[in-house]
Amino acid sequence: MNKIVSALGKFSLLLPGMPGFEAFERDVVLKLTPEAVLRPHTKMELLEIVKICQKEKIPYTATACRTSVTGASVSDRGILISLEKLNRVLTRPEPHRYGMSVQAEAGIMLKDFQKAVEDKGYFYPPDPTSWEEIQLGGSVATNATGENSYHYGSSRNYILGLEYIDKNGNLVWLERNLNPLNLPKQKNLAGYSLELEPLDLLIGSEGTLGIITEIKALLLPKPNAFLSLMLFVKNETEALRLAQRLDQHKQSLHLICLEYMDEPATQFIKKRSSRFFVPQGCSSLYIKTETPEGKTVEEFEDEFLQLVCELYSQSISMSPELIDHSILAKDYLELLEFRRMRHHVPATINEISVVNQKTGGGKVSSDWWVPIEHLVEHFAWMREEIKKLNLPSAIFGHIGNGHPHVNIMPKTAEEKQASIEFTKKCMLRAASLGGGVCGEHGLGKIKTWALPLQWDQVSIDKMKSVKAEWDPEGLAAPGNIFV
């Protein structure tokens, strides 16, 4: 502590016990107390702080809004550096060889950044569920994805350039050469992206390769109107088959999002919804489509509904009453209602978890994904495993990306351990099918054990050598990604 005060005392230090400090001790899952928190007002101040840390060998972890669910943004080693004051949009939207681009500081809130570009007539697609409460820098450092990633891909697909502070305390600009829209639009694999460009190492690096200071983002033209449809389906197998059929018609339906809720998850929304009727005992799919250029919403709506109904009725066991109850959201408030409804599912699971924690249980959630062609078979296998576990569960999520969030809700410590073992098995199997062990939340500090489930030792060694080259003293976000 004395070392930190003497080295960094000229900056305004937030120390344990001071008002406002507590907020920096927790992310969603971990409580860790850093020695101090620094909130630089300018990039130069930030640079100076990092230089001192490097000289004095003080570990430093970048922190944004601490919505990480892995402990990535909190630390009990060295200091936390909050980027919250570096929050400006730096340029107007400008032409770029891959479209329009805009540059901003990493600490800007994602929602403010999105609003700023929207006001200029553009669109920055990444839309994690937590979009209202995170920073642009946090979203890039985790390569955040959301429900629309089914069509738009991850944050990576919209990053044209990054500035970061390197191991010698210099600001380094990394520009992208390839068109990011042509990169695979897939969910995350654990660890670093070794096969792409240098800036891709930083995207999703969870703070371990240095602090990102500025971001040049690719903007798209503002999309046309959206339609959202919630389809009720009798059982899981039918829902997954329908999801696969919808996926096959992704282009003609202009689908941008394809989500699933199993029966327990669908019943959670039933309790909350006064604006539509949720039939008993069914699962649901939630899809979103974007009106194509040159068509009015009404023209497209007719076409869209007709094709969806056709695909729905292709299965004999689909019951016609259920499609009648399906609901369509068109305007802002209805679309928002759908979004909130979906948000209500994890919120309910968290409430159950809090109750379960009192008896040693909680919830065990997973973040694995599989290529969609393996979905039905992987689900069938997983359901057998859940049967053996004999514990309550709820599954919802990005089925179009083969990425459901599977939640087991154990009541005791013993049940919790069994749930963790089950989750590991799912992850391992997902990786062996060509998928990933953590689609969107990263590894942080609590899932470092999952890296070898995804990668062989040769790849892990390569990642470690990247870390050693970029951050030889191991000062940046220690404890994230690697054990």
Partner: protein
């Protein structure tokens, strides 16, 4: 029972409103059913489900208005009238009420519901003027409706609390969006709405001339649109609790002079 709901199409509030040279840019805007009117439709449908009723929608507007009517029909209204004429673009509240007066002439109904205001202009005038022209008893800002012994029981949000009024039939009631959460149409409702009657009504059908409407329109006119001024950045005070309170007290007494 016969319930009429007067509706308006308004720009979707989610979209960025653009204004150029004092004019509202409507290109690229999505038009939706005014949220206050959606609450009227919902309340009428609840009464229909409880007591049986025919719910009819009326809207003055161009092609975009059809979509708003379609939405009400998909929610469950029985039929709709679309009053449309080139002379009816950008109507003021006075002129809209005049057109609706002509529409209701000779029609049989138990009550008329309108939103207490429209989300675009927030004027809140058309319902009141219409009740005057039709000589109907009138209540504003309803947050609940029921029917008992041939009377309409209206809960209205007043300044002091919720007032309960018993209104005769026919009456005109303007409704708040706090009244309910309007249902989101089911696929069945949407499919059915495409087959429900939507009758086109012109000015001639109403026995009105374009000149008459224009005259009414001129009684009040909208000069120009402007965006609200950007809010000044607030002052952020930092420090420990003692400094915070001291600085705040100083600002409240010396700068804002509220203490």
């Amino acid at each position: 029972m016969k319930i009429y709901v007067c509706c308006k199409q308004v720009p979707d509030v989610a979209m960025t409103i653009q204004i150029k040279d004092g004019k509202f840019i409507s290109e690229g805007m999505n038009y939706v059913l005014n949220a206050y009117d959606a609450s009227c439709v919902e309340e009428a449908l609840v009464l229909k489900e409880k007591y049986g009723a025919e719910v009819t929608l009326v809207l003055i507007g161009d092609e975009a208005g059809k979509e708003a009517l379609r939405k009400g029909l998909a929610m469950g209204a029985d039929n709709a009238f679309h009053i449309s004429d080139p002379a009816l673009n950008n109507l003021g509240s006075q002129a809209a009420a005049k057109v609706l007066q002509a529409f209701f002439k000779g029609r049989d109904f138990d009550f008329i519901l309108t939103g207490k205001q429209a989300q675009d202009s927030d004027m809140g005038l058309a319902g009141g003027i219409l009740s005057g022209l039709l000589n109907l008893p009138y209540v504003t800002n309803a947050v609940g409706l029921d029917v008992q012994d041939k009377m309409i029981v209206v809960k209205r949000q007043g300044d002091e609390g919720v007032e309960v009024l018993h209104m005769p039939m026919p009456s005109l009631i303007t409704c708040s969006n706090d009244m309910n959460d309007p249902r989101i149409p089911s696929l069945k409702g949407i499919m059915a709405s495409k087959k429900k009657p939507m009758e086109q009504v012109s000015l001639t059908d109403l026995g009105l001339s374009a000149d008459e409407v224009l005259k009414e329109s001129q009684k009040s006119s909208l000069k120009s649109f402007g965006l609200p001024p950007a809010r000044k950045a607030g002052a952020k005070i930092e420090g420990d609790a003692q400094t915070l309170v001291a600085t705040l007290m100083e600002k409240l007494t010396k700068e804002a002079k509220v203490l």
